[in-house]
Symmetry: C2
Subunit: 347 residues, 2 copies
């Protein structure tokens, strides 16, 4: 009797262990942990000088026409790399058209913006600086601003030592990309993928299994648990117009292909617990509700409350550690620095 019990216990342990290994093997085939080193970026060698310059630029409100907004205003490193607003508020108190995505780990996205219209972070960085509803500036004005401060000229020279005239809008974008490539946030889920079974709770593992079995991982895979591939929002059932406004046709604006109507890049889910509100419209504040909507609209599944809870528990394991960043001291303006203007120029 005793012997039989021991056999049963051993068998049960073996199953649990096999189950644990199996889940991690499954996960390892779909996801990837954040690497321990800064990834390489295309056509942009990352150096310490470039990262430091990029950090200064990222935090510098003088990249905006008004002198009010920096990259960090909408991609705030203190609050999950975004601004926790439905859609961002920019120049002249105008509201942007879509929810600001997190800058954290964004280097791992296949392309940038909700519709993937920028192929990488250096292309992305030029967008908001020029957008009339965001920073409302021009490349020429940005270059004049940066050239007016000798300290910036020195920093650009150090970051781009081969360039004869290093202070350019393109190099601004490259430096910002270099800094952003350092914004990696290793999380409990990475510990788990790297072999530490204790890094996830039983509930989180249940959530992970559901995330795979229900089909979420079909679109949300890779390092960023998303950020790869384009999918129609409402592939099975369109969500209401409140969540999916009719006037924003997503990737259609980029490709002009009928099939791309209401198509968006799968949202990267790292730090998703910190980046409410959700979806490109920013209309959903509760992560449970967001998961439920994804179930019905993308998978045709009415997820049960306890399934949703488990999936949210798993998603919480994607909340990572933000790198320590010393707040920069920026170069002082000079008489040549263009003055800020709060004026809104209607086009």
């Amino acid at each position: 009797m005793l012997r039989l019990s021991i056999v049963a216990i051993v068998a049960a342990l073996a199953v649990t262990s096999a189950g644990a290994d199996e889940l991690r093997d499954q996960a390892a085939a779909i996801f990837k942990p954040v690497p321990s080193t800064i990834p390489a970026t295309k056509d942009n060698v990352i150096t310490k000088d470039k990262i430091e310059l990029g950090k200064a630029l990222f935090f510098d409100p003088r990249l905006s026409a008004s002198g009010v907004f920096s990259c960090n205003s909408c991609h705030n490193l203190a609050t999950g790399g975004d601004d926790n607003l439905e859609t961002s508020i920019g120049h002249g108190w105008q509201k942007g058209p879509r929810n600001a995505p997190t800058v954290l780990n964004s280097v791992f996205n296949e392309a940038q913006f909700w519709d993937g219209r920028a192929e990488d972070l250096k292309a992305q960085a030029k967008g908001p600086v020029q957008a009339g509803v965001e920073m409302a500036n021009t490349p020429g004005q940005v270059e004049t601003t940066l050239k007016s401060m000798p300290q910036y000229v020195e920093w650009f020279q150090a970051a781009f030592p081969k360039d004869k005239s290093p202070v350019t809008f393109d190099n601004m974008a490259k430096a910002i990309e270099a800094f952003e490539a350092t914004l990696l946030t290793p999380a409990p889920f990475d510990k788990y993928l790297n072999g530490d079974d204790a890094a996830l709770s039983a509930e989180q593992k249940k959530g992970l299994a559901l995330f795979i079995d229900k089909g979420c991982a079909g679109c949300h895979g890779g390092i960023n648990v998303g950020g790869q591939g384009y999918y129609p929002f409402g592939v099975v059932e369109k969500p209401g117009a409140e969540v999916l406004p009719a006037n924003d046709k997503g990737r259609f604006a980029v490709t002009k292909t009928a099939d791309d109507q209401y198509v968006f890049r799968a949202a990267p889910l790292r730090n998703v617990a910190l980046t409410a509100p959700y979806f490109h419209s920013g209309k959903v504040w509760d992560l449970h509700q967001a998961v439920a909507i994804m179930g019905s609209s993308q998978l045709g599944t009415e997820l049960k409350p306890d399934e949703i809870n488990s999936i949210v528990a798993f998603l919480n394991s994607l909340t990572g550690e933000v790198p320590r960043i010393e707040y920069p001291v920026l170069p002082a303006e000079t008489a040549k620095t263009p003055r800020p203007t709060e004026e809104v120029i209607k086009k």
Copy 2:
């Protein structure tokens, strides 16, 4: 002959040395160096926990109704502790009435705001949070916001261990004051006051002597080279309405005393080279011009260009080293956190 030369050289050295000592003695009687330790604040014991909480609050945009503005938006530690705007832009893109003063070393001011209406930094901190044109929030809403995030509740408990309900608007202000009291920027002028004659150039010493001899130091003395005492702007000759707008009567609004019309607190001049534009109206961008205006309006003196250059050189010696600050990672919102609103409520 040789002997005579040596005597002459020794005599010359003695004169130079006596001159140098004399200037420093004069300066030491008027100014004081930034201390090497954080100053005590009235009714607010400064602890490490309080400083850390205060830092988080200082950088938290959720103290504003819109979720867009933090204390750091207008008192940006990256740009001299102010925003480099004529007057700040706040809620609903409204412009504030006066130029934002630097938060750096502000703990040494006799009182806060251009008109001294707040007796200290904890009283000051409550103003912008509630001002309709700035953060447009209410004490109750701020408390609800902070109480909704368990991490903040813990931080308040650690910072105010004797309080039963530590998450209050008053304690928010005290924590911010504690953080701000750490924002000291020792500068070359402090080295000089502390005995290092080589810390100032010959031109800067000339400027310091002029600053004393011409009478600038009559109002701009103490640790902050200003920030003490109230004086009419235009004591000798009123500057133009562009610089001194008729509708802003300064301290008169606080005291309702006729003598206080167009009276302002003497501006603290530490880091003045970083805090253009100048005066309460923020209408003067060039420090040389600001010095010239002060000469004519306050001293009845038409300063010569080379005198102005020397005084500006001296003022540059007040640019100090900002303490290293790690950018905070703030608590995440919860379902109970009030949602941001960009709506402007006209009263």
